[in-house]
């Protein structure tokens, strides 16, 4: 049995690592700012050098916060999907949930806005965009659920997820073709969204949305545990299947939809991080796996962000490429291990 001492040690180590990476992410950048100044800016809000506090408060802090929240959100939504679909390879990106969010935003920006219903960029536009992303991801989630009640094979569902993703991309392409230049430009800028592209005002929308999603995820821990054994067992133990699906889907749509709406699609965190958490904590219990995935997700995304900004360079690499390079080896490892299991049985 894993001793309590070991558990405590693991948790402290992970939390310490998370804090250090967060500070490192704020500290590192093209402009060299002494760590003393950064700490002073964070805790007192001002500095002797005006440009330093602008850089830290307007750019680095929002970016690090976004990386942290995106890591939390994507990992938790991946964990939820892996349990509810009983599929180790499920995640918001592979199942097309992120594409669903993109489609929602595309229809809003290119379709509805082009028709002139909304003004250019109103004060509520952030909320409207995020709402469109939630609806888009929620709809794809329902579609996958409908299919998964008929098709039980894991790989088939995965391929269907990829098909849904491609289909939404195709629809987005068609929408782009028919939209006018200004809208197209607005949409292209949105698709290039990155962790660094999230402004302070967007963070006011992103933070409460993600926190709400995480709170719902935390209160659905018992439901997720019951679903581990499959729906029949869950039902026989008194779980309200519909209610728990509703909770988990709302949470997943909030988490994956919000992050996709503001940062664009970030792949493979959702699949890979829950497996890392299982590896570290050696449990299937969601009351440990869920906070564990959150923290590891934060660590992985902060680390990816630090890698992406190439010290000394002005520009940074696309975050999606880094997370793919981190996540894909883990996914391959799962597939190969799965293959070995199915050969035995």
């Amino acid at each position: 049995m894993v001793s309590n001492k070991y558990k405590l040690f693991t948790w402290s180590l992970l939390i310490l690592l998370l804090i250090m990476l967060f500070l490192a992410d704020v500290f590192l950048g093209s402009v060299n700012i002494p760590i003393k100044e950064i700490l002073r800016i964070i805790f007192s809000g001002n500095s002797e050098y005006k440009e330093f506090s602008t850089i830290v408060l307007q750019f680095r802090l929002p970016k690090a916060l976004t990386a942290l929240l995106a890591g939390f959100a994507l990992s938790v939504s991946g964990l939820q999907m892996q349990t509810i679909f009983k599929n180790p390879l499920a995640g918001p990106y592979v199942l097309g949930i992120s594409s669903g969010a993109s489609l929602g935003v595309a229809i809003l920006v290119l379709g509805v806005s082009s028709a002139g219903i909304f003004g250019q960029i109103g004060p509520f536009s952030n909320w409207i965009i995020v709402l469109a992303a939630w609806i888009g991801s929620g709809l794809i989630l329902l579609l996958i659920l409908a299919v998964s009640t008929r098709v039980k094979d894991i790989m088939t569902i995965l391929i269907l997820g990829i098909m849904f993703g491609s289909a939404t991309t195709a629809v987005v392409g068609i929408l782009q073709y028919f939209s006018n230049e200004t809208m197209l430009k607005a949409f292209i800028i949105w698709t290039m969204g990155s962790l660094g592209g999230v402004s302070m005002s967007q963070l006011y929308v992103l933070t409460p949305s993600v926190l709400l999603g995480l709170v719902i995820a935390l209160i659905s821990v018992k439901m997720l545990n019951a679903l581990l054994l499959g729906e029949n067992y869950a039902k026989s133990m008194g779980l309200n299947i519909r209610l728990s699906r509703f909770f988990i889907f709302i949470s997943t749509s909030l988490l994956a939809g919000t992050i996709t709406a503001f940062c664009g699609p970030i792949g493979f965190i959702g699949i890979a991080v829950p497996h890392l958490a299982r590896l570290v904590f050696k449990t299937a219990n969601h009351s440990i796996l869920l906070p564990g995935s959150m923290i590891i997700g934060g660590i992985v995304l902060l680390l990816s962000d630090i890698i992406s900004q190439l010290p000394g360079k002005e520009s940074s690499l696309p975050i999606n490429s880094i997370t793919a390079l981190v996540g894909i080896p883990i996914v391959i490892w799962i597939i190969i291990r799965k293959q070995r299991f199915s050969n035995i049985s």
Binding site: M1, P88, I219, V221, K222, N225, A226, L228, L229, G230, N232, Y233, K235, S236, M237, G238, L239, N240, R278, K282, T283, A284, N285, S287
Partner: protein, 334 residues
Amino acid sequence: MKTSNKILEIKNLEIGYPVSKKSFYSLFSDINLTAKKGELVAVIGKNGVGKSTLLRSIAGLQDSIHGQVTINDILISDYSRSEFAGLVSFVSTEIVHVNNLRVFDLVALGRFPHTNWFGKLEEKDIVAVNRALEMVGMKGFASKNINEISDGERQRVMIARTLAQDTQLIILDEPTAFLDLPNKYEIVHLLNNLSKTEKKTIIFSTHDLNIAIQEADKIWLMLNNGIIEGAPEDLILNETFNRIFDHTNLNFDKVKGDFRMKRKHSEKIGLIGEGIYYTWTKKALERMNFTVDKGNVSIPHVLVNQSTWQYVNENSIISVNSIYELANLIIESK
């Protein structure tokens, strides 16, 4: 007759599955059955006759088409979700494969109806889980991973989960299906013990008739034209078991309590001897499609004397020391 200890009562039940929103495919109708406190009930019947559907209908996992199922004199549809989960637990045929799931945690899932919104295990829950593991003899396995234990052990753990759920009624769909012979016997024997010591009503479906006959208090026999319930011994004595496999070459042997292939015996052979050696020599000869004629020495015959056999025909008398040699000898001399 006392009715107070009658836990489960099924009246005029029709079971099946939905074909469309309004129509059902009916599998079985006019089901009238009862089960009492502390009874072990075995559900027997051919594949596809509706054993699983019946069990799932009782466990509230599937809607029945018509009729009623009552537990403690209340219709199962009138119980709330959590009340019902405190009353009936279920083990399905699917094998649970979850990585990193410890035996203790799996059994603790049975506490679902008894814990708070976050599923936090209180002292009493931990006591209940440990007790459940002890009852099925799996206490030393608490911290093992469920993917690391054998099929028989996993089935014990699944039963422990129903004990942790602490329900009056436990329903198991083919709990012996994937097990080897010793495990089949042990699991059904365990169910028998639990029904007696813990006063649980346990209903399980199985194809292992000979085991069910030895352990069950009652058999629900699902035939093509109706369900018959009764003690296994009664069903043997009134030859009901023969009706399970009508139109096949299987025959129920009343004395031995098991099925035998109906054989087309052709040639006669004499057999002289007694005791267990006689019995097994007779079985061997019948397997070779002989009709055994006890004590007949006017035709080719076999004399059994403890562990030596003599084959006697018109031409010779040959002695051998095993039934295998005897069988070869008879085939060669034909």
